[in-house]
Symmetry: C2
Subunit: 149 residues, 2 copies
Amino acid sequence: MSLPPGRIHHIAVVVRSIETSLGLYRDLLGLPLETIMDIPSDRVRIAFLGVGESKVELVEPTDDTTGVARFLASRGEGFHHLCLEVENLAEELTRLAISGVELIDSAPRRGAEGPVAFLHPRSCGGVLVELIEALGGPSWRGLGMGDPA
Amino acid sequence: MSLPPGRIHHIAVVVRSIETSLGLYRDLLGLPLETIMDIPSDRVRIAFLGVGESKVELVEPTDDTTGVARFLASRGEGFHHLCLEVENLAEELTRLAISGVELIDSAPRRGAEGPVAFLHPRSCGGVLVELIEALGGPSWRGLGMGDPA
């Protein structure tokens, strides 16, 4: 048995407009805005706001061709996924696959904040679950992500 | 401006069966089970699993008359709400209401883990947001919830 997840890394919310949503999450709820960035490869803009050891990620599609854009068109704004931090992502994925969990990503890939992989909501009670490897884990080196410091 | 929320207190997931869902969240993802309890007044059973300073709450309807049961029937299992911890819940609710946020609960009420209130997803980008008051805040005394220690 590997270590349990150490924290909720973030929960992601699909929004029409990051600027509009900051009116709630930053200005009314008071969560500090940490960063806004374009992720051209995913055709989204994202914002991270801090809350304790976790973050709220706002995800805004930048065109209508992606899964996130279709999610927004069909369901409207709302919760998108839950991201848990693990120590050794490749090891977790192997263990979960052996246990019958359906993986969207069978191996760690580069995410905006570290090596990530998604589990299918069919295996997770309807929740899209992302796993991210804690800073300095083996997949950081494996993916050539190095030390972001 | 009051203090920003201190942490994600929990995220709640509606499930058909807590026991089945423990197969994923406890046994495969490795989150430690903290408690399972019946909440007869809400006609649900709930389970809390720990992850860092936060929890995952599994919510299982015990009959088909409640909003949670209708949620499960119409949308299936999945994310239900995000709960943020605040220092002074009554003050937050007043501030949010003045700012035009639509409140489901206009005043703190007794929750399983402290004084709580829900904000309407219409005001929160499609996300049902719950606020819970940190242990020892003024609503604990106001609701006669005392010190749970």
